[in-house]
Assembly symmetry: C2
Homo-oligomer: 251 residues x 2
Amino acid sequence: MPEIAPGNELAMLILEACRRENLELVDGDVVVITQKIVSKAEGCIVSLSDVEPSPIASTFARESGKDPRLVELALREAKRIVRMDRGVLITETRHGFVCANSGVDASNVGSPDAATTLPRKPDRSAERLQRELQDATGARIAVIISDTFGRPWRVGVVNVAIGIAGLNPVNDYRGRSDADGRSLAATVIAIADELAGAAELVMGKLDRIPVVVVRGYRYAFNNDGNNDGNSDGGDGGAASLVRDEARDLFR
Amino acid sequence: MPEIAPGNELAMLILEACRRENLELVDGDVVVITQKIVSKAEGCIVSLSDVEPSPIASTFARESGKDPRLVELALREAKRIVRMDRGVLITETRHGFVCANSGVDASNVGSPDAATTLPRKPDRSAERLQRELQDATGARIAVIISDTFGRPWRVGVVNVAIGIAGLNPVNDYRGRSDADGRSLAATVIAIADELAGAAELVMGKLDRIPVVVVRGYRYAFNNDGNNDGNSDGGDGGAASLVRDEARDLFR
């Protein structure tokens, strides 16, 4: 993929890259796209020289060795601060995602003085990209927009889905039993996050591979009532992967 | 794979299953094995009729509609209770994993009156399986033992690595920069968890596929200083994916 700039037609550029790789999108493909290029194409780029840090951002930045303008930007993008301690800023974004620095990221932006923010409506972004890719190819595909999130209790970050179109984000086994008639304990599998994580293994961080096609995962046309490959069937998008406040024990 | 019973030679059964599938393990393969069959082979099975629930287990079970013997077993397997609220029991296991019900699971055990507990030392289990698979095949492989964990803030569960041998659990980009010289924000990628999650997409829960071979992921022999495919090089196993208490903001 080329360097992405605001206003670029991402679907077209993805299809051009596919052609260069002699890859034709086919029914059932899942196209995983990193948040970074979606944000860039949508113009979710902030020039850091335009950001005036507040006192709270300056204090935290000084204590943690961070860029105060990035801290300020993360605070502005936040709906709520979850933790702001030991050099770590974890917030709830306006989308409801809980992640470090509200998803604000100054790496791989294409300019040392700029940072990206998360797409405004990542499920809508995924739906538009899905529609454009489908219209151009005639194939029925799904789109996942991925970002890299940390997790409590475990070291390191993994890719998760922040925007989804065309597949049910979960595989729901509720009400189903094992061979002994025992109901299953782990019943709702967040397959969209597992697909995003799998794609990260191919993307890496320095390889400049912002788009991955997952082929052969059976989520569509299999009539199991779960993965219906149907974007207009109320699958809820990545927003449905945000846990309800009432059911969340870690707010 | 056949139904697994205590004392079964898992490595031998995996190799027999590979032969039936005409699959020969080769250098670089990552063999992902679900916790359930490792626990069963190692005899980590408890007969529920032998479990006497304590008053606290009985009370919580009554409130949440759970089997009091399973709650009791989860409490016995716990080092610490993280949350015990709204029908959800989240504990820290003796290994340091934070998960639901201490990893105790009554589904797919092979008997309606039994539950499995997590392997005692899953990294050691992974190392032994790796050694046996390598000795039998001559191929240099990695082994991941996976289990299904929930996550705060996000709906659903995903597979993660609870035992690892032969690969560095993380891909560490610390100190590396992007094309603009900006240091990377998301620097330590938990690839072992992403591999475990990818394997779940193939395993499913009802398909009776407890072992998955991931082929083509370049973690070995690539001289990047990270994924050295070297189990004796201090990679730390899955234990190294447990976040230090001092660095954990969610204890």
